[in-house]
């Protein structure tokens, strides 16, 4: 595999952007700035390798469709923040961690093993509505944001996940 080099400036720019976005929507980057910058660098390495921000701590297979759930912010972040105070790679932390009430530690993997993944994903098809809705409802798989509109938004206004992370909810 070729060597990916990432400039310090690029790391700094993305670090600042993620930090601002997180603060603006109630999330927090890990306050250990050195650790967090190294993870941001890894996101950029993965962007160069795969074309998207695959989670630095998970083995991406390079196929965007099957890696979609682990593109940062991953589908598992919010559940892990609730349960452990930290996401799997520890880029994001909870209020408790930020306030020093909880330690950052390596946590168990929530992503289902490969064989169970297909059935875990709800896929693009909508559940059958009990009654007709005036508009389709789209759900962000990352943060749960719901939008009733003809098409999902280009970017989630809450967590900044891209359009392809939305699923038809209703």
């Amino acid at each position: 595999m070729s060597e990916e080099t990432v400039s310090k400036e690029a790391v700094e720019a993305l670090y600042r952007r993620l930090d601002e976005e997180a603060q603006g929507s109630g999330y927090h980057l890990n306050p250990d700035a050195e650790f967090t910058r190294a993870l941001v660098e890894s996101l950029l390495v993965n962007e160069a390798r795969y074309g998207y921000w695959a989670c630095p701590c998970r083995l991406a297979d390079g196929n965007k469709e099957s890696d979609l759930d682990i593109i940062c912010p991953c589908d598992y972040r919010d559940a892990d923040l609730n349960e452990w105070g930290v996401c799997f790679c520890a880029l994001y932390v909870s209020d408790e961690v930020l306030e020093g009430e909880r330690e950052v530690a390596s946590i168990p993997e929530r992503r289902p093993p490969v064989a169970e993944r297909a059935q875990h994903r709800s896929g693009p098809q909508a559940p059958t509505p009990a009654r007709e809705a005036p508009l389709p409802v789209w759900r962000c798989r990352v943060c749960g944001y719901l939008a009733a509109r003809e098409q999902p938004p280009g970017v989630c206004p809450i967590c900044k996940a891209k359009r392809d992370r939305f699923e038809r909810f209703w």
Binding site: V45, C57, R58, A60, C89, R111
Partner: protein, 96 residues
């Protein structure tokens, strides 16, 4: 960037230690540092840098012990497995 695979020799050679990690993962980095600090001899593989049959072999070796297939995974003497960055458990598995 890290070498895809190799061996590190340390003074502590009591155990056969296999470290499987990802070159981009901080918990993997910390786990490798813990092994180096314990001065343990170990084989390492960065699975994200492996390709083809080598990668498949490494993925399968990890899954045998850790069905979640997560990283880092350290296998000691083909008997014990430490998943994630867990220095206490790692020292326990190495009898330190």
């Amino acid at each position: 960037m890290a070498e895809a695979r190799g061996s590190v020799s340390g003074r502590n050679t009591d155990h056969q230690v296999a470290f499987y990690g990802l070159s981009t993962c901080m918990w993997c980095r910390k786990t490798r540092m813990a092994l180096e600090e314990a001065d343990v001899s170990f084989d390492f593989a960065y699975v994200d840098l492996l390709q083809g049959a080598e990668r498949e072999e490494a993925v399968n070796a990890v899954r045998r012990w850790n069905p979640a297939g997560s990283y880092p995974t350290v296998i000691v003497d083909d008997e014990k497995c430490v998943v994630g960055y867990n220095p206490d458990k790692l020292r326990g598995a190495l009898g330190l």
